[in-house]
């Protein structure tokens, strides 16, 4: 046993001695270990056969600078590496030469000098789609150097480096990018990097990039130029700046053309970006003036003098918790887009849009962490210029608005988030003319939200604070047709497609200000008619709500009257809108009350009085200003016909007003057709057709009245010549009742 351990001891000592001796020998003569042959054997041994590394000529030199400091030089001509398995990459270099000095004076050898390194004539092809996926190194560890490498490289002096890759091709996602790269570092000179790249995409798109970096002390300055072209779309950008431990300072300029049909060109000039690392992340600052060129307006809109260019300034300050913003880490800051004032001969405009960020970018689309604010305005200082400019065009302002003068302004101001937004807007008009006024305060809220698809809506309230409108001069006759008859429309053989339900809903309220009714001026009324409105226009285009004529004096039936109230409540269908009115006419010892109820198409009139008087008498007084007993037969018949027409709502509202405003000689009414024809005393015995439906009165029945006391009376009588025979006879008669 002792012998065994003794032998073992001698073997051990011998081994150690041999190892130490060997190490010392290698140290003294490193070329014994590192040489051409050993390198080739190492490549064959340690590099998988699927990644063959080849070279045409090699030269490996090892020089001992001292016992513990050795210089290694490697030089390869036509050095190539291939990925035979996945064909994910191939790289060939005309020359690869590498020199480094290793210092073995420490337990872990260190590199004291690196360089010259020369890799030139590179031809690299990389297909990212074929790269095998590698397990993630874990968050934050993707780019972390191994500690051993840090130890080995610590303190190394880097001498000349030249990396010249004239042909660099990268494929990913079916797209190919080609370029070149040159990195150069001279001793005692700053790092320099010149790179260029170009990429060819499908659909003929092409992008080019040149980059130039120079190390200047603790900072590096750079200059980038990029171009992109796809058909008519073009982008050109230039950036220069510096980056270092203190952060990034950059200035951008460039232009883009025809990226969007609504934007002809966008120019960015002297856009400044700074990124400053701070203790808890980085602060970003941006100030970017832009100019957008708008497309030519259609010929019909040219008259508005819309400017061709729009000036904007995008600026902002954002804090990121990390140097590079991440979708999952909150940002905090502001972005502002300011619109340069737009000034044309017709209008001025401007404003800004702001974005307040306080959350994670990944949640912005959910409405969290991003809030936008707008403040835009458009002002037309002189409406009359608009009228003049639009004269003769398809936008010509119609009468009676075209005589108005003054200004109006639209302002949109509000907050929104990216998921749902609210935009309040205001419209103020101050227009007037000799006999009209149009002062409107309108406020509206435009809302949108994206839950379940994009939906939007408008809720507007228009207050007519001072409006007076002049109607055209009308005659005491049936009014002209102002709108095409809805019953007469061209027939389309194919039913129009049902429109898909719109996601845009709107509601507009139109109302007058309390105490300031809308006033309608007409030659048929002695004074402006005061009207209160409280109408609502909904998404279906239906207008509903009350139109109220306020209490005001009027002349009806040639007597002074007062409209106590008259309310027209609009609804659909329009003919079904309700009417409720009361007119008071003082007459001697009593007051005649004319009550109008029913609908627009069939307003029924009740004539009563306080104290009560028979309706016949009241109608008689209204029509002829006299008691019924004093009327002739024709007039009494007219009274009866008028009562019937009133009761059945045979006259529309306009006809009722005409009827009440004209001196009536006689009125004929056919209850079966509800046709009303009035003979009025306006010279020539003018006949008016007052039927709401416009039908002509066909015949007059038993007695055709020709005048106050004359009529043609038709009857079926006994024949004088043939007693027993019934014949139809007519007599021209003078009639008197008493």
């Amino acid at each position: 046993m002792k012998l065994f351990f003794k032998c073992l001891g001698w073997v051990g000592v011998s081994s150690v001695g041999l190892a130490v001796g060997g190490a010392l020998l290698v140290l003294q003569f490193p070329q014994l270990l590192v040489n051409d042959r050993s390198f080739s054997l190492a490549i064959k041994k340690f590099v998988p056969s699927s990644y063959p590394i080849t070279w045409s000529r090699e030269r490996i030199d090892v020089r001992s600078m001292s016992f513990l400091k050795k210089e290694f030089s490697f030089r390869f001509d036509r050095f190539c590496v291939l990925d035979q398995a996945d064909q994910a990459f191939s790289a060939c270099f005309d020359r690869v030469s590498l020199r480094f000095v290793v210092d073995f004076s420490r337990l872990i050898p260190r590199l004291s000098v690196i360089g010259p390194i020369e890799i030139t004539g590179g031809d690299i092809a990389l297909n990212l789609d074929r790269l095998p996926s590698r397990p993630s190194a874990g968050p934050g560890k993707a780019f972390e150097m191994p500690r051993l490498a840090k130890t080995v490289l610590a303190g190394a002096r880097i001498e000349e480096i030249l990396l010249d890759l004239p042909r660099l091709r990268v494929q990913a996602g079916g797209k190919t990018a080609e370029g070149g790269l040159r990195i150069e570092k001279q001793p005692l000179k700053p790092w320099g990097l010149d790179g260029s790249a170009s990429a060819q995409f499908e659909e003929g798109a092409r992008a080019d990039l040149t980059a130039h970096f120079i190390q200047e002390g603790s900072r590096a300055s750079f200059q980038l130029d990029a171009n992109y072209r796809q058909g008519a779309k073009k982008i050109a950008a230039h950036a220069n700046g510096s980056v270092g431990r203190a952060g990034l300072q950059a200035r951008f300029s460039g232009w883009a053309s025809k990226l969007d049909p609504q934007l002809t060109r966008v120019d960015v000039n002297d856009c400044a970006l700074s990124v400053k690392p701070v203790e808890n992340g980085a602060d970003y600052r941006l100030h970017c003036p832009m100019r957008a060129s708008l497309p030519l307006p259609p010929p019909s809109l040219k008259v508005f003098g819309i400017p061709r260019q729009l000036g904007l300034v995008v600026s902002g300050e954002i804090h990121s918790p990390s140097l590079l913003p991440s979708m999952d880490r909150p940002l905090d800051g502001n972005l502002l887009v300011s619109i340069d004032p737009i000034i044309s001969s017709l209008f001025t405009g401007g404003g800004h849009l702001g974005l307040r960020l306080n959350g994670k970018p990944a949640e912005f689309s959910k409405g969290k962490g991003a809030e936008a604010e707008t403040d835009l305005f458009l002002k037309i200082p002189r409406f009359e210029r608009i009228v003049t400019r639009l004269r003769g065009t398809s936008w010509d302002i119609p009468a009676p608005l075209r005589v108005l003068k003054g200004s109006f302004e639209v302002q949109a101001k509000g907050k929104t988030d990216l998921r749902q937004g609210v935009f309040p807007a205001r419209l103020d008009t101050k227009l007037s003319s000799r006999s009209q006024a149009l002062k409107i305060d309108a406020s509206s809220v435009f809302e949108f939200h994206r839950a379940g698809g994009f939906n939007s809506g408008l809720d507007a309230e228009i207050t007519l604070s001072d409006v007076q409108v002049e109607l055209p001069r009308l005659d005491l006759a049936v009014p002209p047709r102002l709108m095409p008859d809805e019953r007469i429309q061209a027939h389309h053989p194919v039913e129009a497609k049902k429109a898909e339900p719109s996601s845009f809903v709107y509601q507009v309220k139109i109302k007058t200000q309390e105490g300031h009714p809308l006033r309608v001026v007409s030659n048929l009324a002695k004074a402006p008619v005061p009207i209160d409105l409280d109408l609502t226009l909904d998404r279906t285009g239906n207008l509903s709500g009350p139109i109220r004529i306020e209490r005001f004096p009027v002349v009806l039936f040639r007597q002074k009257a007062t409209i106590d109230h008259f309310v027209l409540t609009l609804k659909e269908p329009r003919d079904a809108s309700d009417v409720d009115g009361l007119i008071k006419i003082p007459h001697g010892d009593y007051t005649i009350l004319i009550d109008v109820v029913g609908t627009i198409s069939e307003p029924r009139v009740r004539v009563e009085s306080e104290p009560p008087v028979p309706t016949n008498q009241l109608v008689s007084v209204l029509l002829y200003g006299d008691q019924q007993e004093n009327l002739d037969s024709n007039q009494r018949a007219s009274v009866g016909n008028t009562e019937a027409a009133f009761s059945q709502g045979a006259m529309g509202l306009a006809s009722l007003y005409l009827f009440a405003s004209t001196p009536v000689q006689s009125l004929l009414y056919d209850p079966t057709t509800r046709s009303v024809t009035a003979r009025i005393s306006l010279g020539g015995g003018t006949t008016l057709n007052l039927s709401g439906n416009g039908s002509q009165f066909q015949s007059v029945g038993l007695r055709k009245r020709l005048g106050p006391s004359w009529a043609v009376t038709t009857s079926v009588d006994q024949s004088k010549e043939n007693p027993g025979a019934q014949i139809v006879t007519a007599f021209l008669e003078w009639i008197h009742r008493y």
């Binding site: 004269r391 398809s394 010509d396 302002i397 119609p398 009468a399 009676p400 005589v403 000799r434 002049e470 055209p472 001069r473 009308l474 005659d475 006759a477 047709r481 008859d485 019953r487 007469i488 429309q489 061209a490 027939h491 019924q628 007993e629 037969s633 009494r636 009866g640 009761s647 209850p671 079966t672 057709t673 509800r674 439906n693 416009g694 039908s695 015949s699 007059v700 029945g701 038993l702 055709k704 043609v712 009376t713 038709t714 009857s715 079926v716 004088k720 010549e721 043939n722 027993g724 025979a725 019934q726 139809v728 006879t729 007519a730 007599f731 021209l732 008669e733 003078w734 008197h736 008493y738």
Partner: protein
């Protein structure tokens, strides 16, 4: 050469479409003057008297014009600008090509509506079509229909959407209370029965009866629908109870005809009425008076009708003076289709013959009964002065016996029937056929003949003559029977029986100016014995013209009489106020 050039120029001008300058900046081309009203012109050309409407921009003028020209059936209007002027090419008017409906009950028979297809398609025409349809449905029992029309300006089609609702029963009438009159009085004039199908025309007929009786100046019904039933409110305009009227008519038989009438209606709580009438013409004069005494229940249609009259008639054949008095019992009955009236009672006639064959003086106490049936259509359109449809029939019997204060025992029978037929029931009518027939006979033992004219005990008014506008229009009034040669005005003899048929076919609303031509043909026979008629046959073809004027109807006929195969003479007739 100049002439050729001028002709070419004139032709060229003629072929240019007409141009109407509405105002300096607006010209309408291609249509006859659209006849714009002053208001329409202002809304298109501007109003120099209104600051706000002084200038109308062209786009606004276009919009307004498009609406205005609709009223002229112009829907394919094109606008163009030429040297700052707006040229309006009016295009051709659209005419109606068809009239269809949906939802209509089968009995509506839309084809009846004339003067729609072929007319200009205007909003007013649509109103007329809607109103006609509602009215027509009202006569079929649909009291509250809804009718909406729509039309295609490209094709000219009119389509009606009809919601007729159920046919409705007229259940109740609410009448205004009239002071001094029992409620229910007005119901005796009803041309309908409650609980039967509603018919709007019958309500109008009822109103006409009330007015023609002189009861009130105006009466109308306001229907109100509720489910399957209708109730109507009767509104009346009370007037002073006494009516005095003086009227005139004329015709070639009696020349100028005058009538004076005094009526007091609303006598007593049951609204009895008393009437006195003077009637006069060149041929006959009459003073008459009657009292409709409603002495029974307020709504009862029964009345006692005392009547008295004094007549003087002076025809070619005779001249008589007659005093008549009757105490009749009158009643009537109506349903939704027809009315029926009966008057029965004793009548005393005292007749003096001043000229003609017959006793100088005679008297007859007869039991007279008169039965009249008349369709509501006949009455309705007759009241409107536009007879077109319906029928009327009357039967009169008078029985007198010598033993009962009568000069001679004699029974008289008179039948009349008239029927108007509207071809395909068009409205307005296209062709109205009229048929009138009559039969009279005097049953007596007397046999007036020329060999014993002085022995005739019957007064000439109890004999029968034909000729005149009421029967044979190819002969003069009471010209038939033809008297033997040598007969004088003193000894013309009538016949004991007669029968006739008159026919007429009238073209309505085709010619302009309201002219309605018609063809006529009449045929009649006479008989010298009771019940029997014998040859010769008298007949006459002819034609006439009816004119519906604003003051009444004018009729004229020209017919040629024939006796058997022998032509007789032309006969002209003219009247104002008389119908077929």
């Amino acid at each position: 050469m100049a002439g050729l050039f001028y002709c070419a120029f004139a032709v060229a001008r003629e072929s240019e479409p007409p141009r109407t300058v509405l105002c300096p900046g607006l010209i309408v081309v291609g249509a006859v003057d659209p006849g714009m009203s002053d208001v329409e012109k202002r809304l298109v050309c501007g109003d120099s008297k209104s600051n706000s409407w002084r200038e109308i921009p062209k786009n606004q003028a276009r919009f307004n014009l498009s609406a205005f020209l609709q009223d002229r059936a112009l829907y394919h209007v094109r606008f163009r600008t030429q040297k700052e002027r707006l040229i309006v090419e009016a295009g051709d008017p659209t005419y109606v090509t068809s009239l269809t409906s949906e939802g209509a009950p089968p009995e509506l028979e839309l084809y009846r509506q004339r003067k729609v297809v072929g007319q200009k398609l205007t909003p007013a025409l649509l109103d007329t079509v809607e109103q006609w349809t509602k009215k027509r449905l009202g006569t079929l029992g649909y009291a509250c229909p809804r009718v909406k029309s729509r039309a295609d300006p490209d094709t000219g089609e009119i389509h009606l959407v009809i919601e007729s609702g159920p046919q409705q029963i007229l259940m109740e009438i609410f009448a205004d209370e009239t002071p001094g009159i029992n409620p229910g009085v007005l119901r005796r004039y009803d041309a309908f029965r409650l609980g039967r199908l509603y018919n709007g025309d019958n309500l109008v007929t009822t109103s006409n009866r009330v007015v023609s009786q002189g009861l009130f100046d105006s009466s109308f019904f306001l229907p109100s629908c509720r489910g399957n039933s209708v109730s109507a409110s009767q509104q009346i305009v009370a007037s002073p109870p006494r009516l005095l009227s003086l009227g005139a008519g004329l015709n070639t038989e009696e020349l100028l005809v005058g009538r004076a009438r005094w009526t007091e209606s609303r006598i007593g709580q049951n609204a009895s009425d008393l009437s006195v009438q003077l009637y006069g013409s060149f041929r006959s004069q009459q003073i008459s008076s009657y009292l409709d005494a409603y002495v029974f229940a307020p709504g009862s249609r029964q009345a006692l009708r005392p009547y008295v009259s004094i007549d003087h008639e002076n025809w070619d054949a005779y001249e008589t003076g007659t005093f008549s008095t009757q105490l009749g019992h009158e009643t009537s009955w109506d349903n939704e289709d027809l009315g029926f009236k009966v008057i029965t009672g004793p009548q005393l006639d005292v007749i003096r013959t001043y000229r003609g064959v017959g006793p100088v003086s005679s008297h007859f106490l007869s039991m007279l009964s008169s039965w009249t049936i008349m369709s509501h259509g006949f009455e309705f359109y007759g009241d409107r002065g536009a007879p077109r449809t319906g029928y009327s029939a009357t039967a009169k019997i008078a029985l007198a016996n010598r033993s009962a204060y009568s000069s001679v025992s004699v029974q008289r029978l008179s039948l009349r029937w008239e029927n108007l037929l509207n071809y395909r029931n068009y409205d307005p009518p296209l062709l109205v056929f009229g048929l009138r027939a009559g039969y009279d006979t005097t049953i007596t033992g007397e046999r007036p003949n020329f060999s014993n004219i002085y022995g005739v005990q019957l007064p000439p008014t109890y004999l029968h003559f034909l000729g005149g506008s009421q029967d044979l229009r190819g002969f003069g009034v009471q010209e038939l029977p033809i008297q033997p040669p040598g007969t004088t005005a003193q000894n013309q003899i009538g016949s004991l029986s007669d029968a006739f048929v008159s026919m007429e076919a009238r073209l309505v609303e085709v010619l302009p100016l309201g002219l309605e031509p018609f063809l006529l043909a009449d045929v009649g026979v006479l008989g010298s014995s009771p019940w029997n008629v014998a040859a010769p046959v008298y007949w006459d073809p002819g034609f006439g013209l009816r004119l519906q004027s604003p003051i009444g109807v004018f009729r004229t006929t020209l017919a040629h009489g024939f006796i058997g195969a022998t032509p007789d003479h032309l006969q002209f007739f003219f009247s104002f106020g008389q119908e077929f």
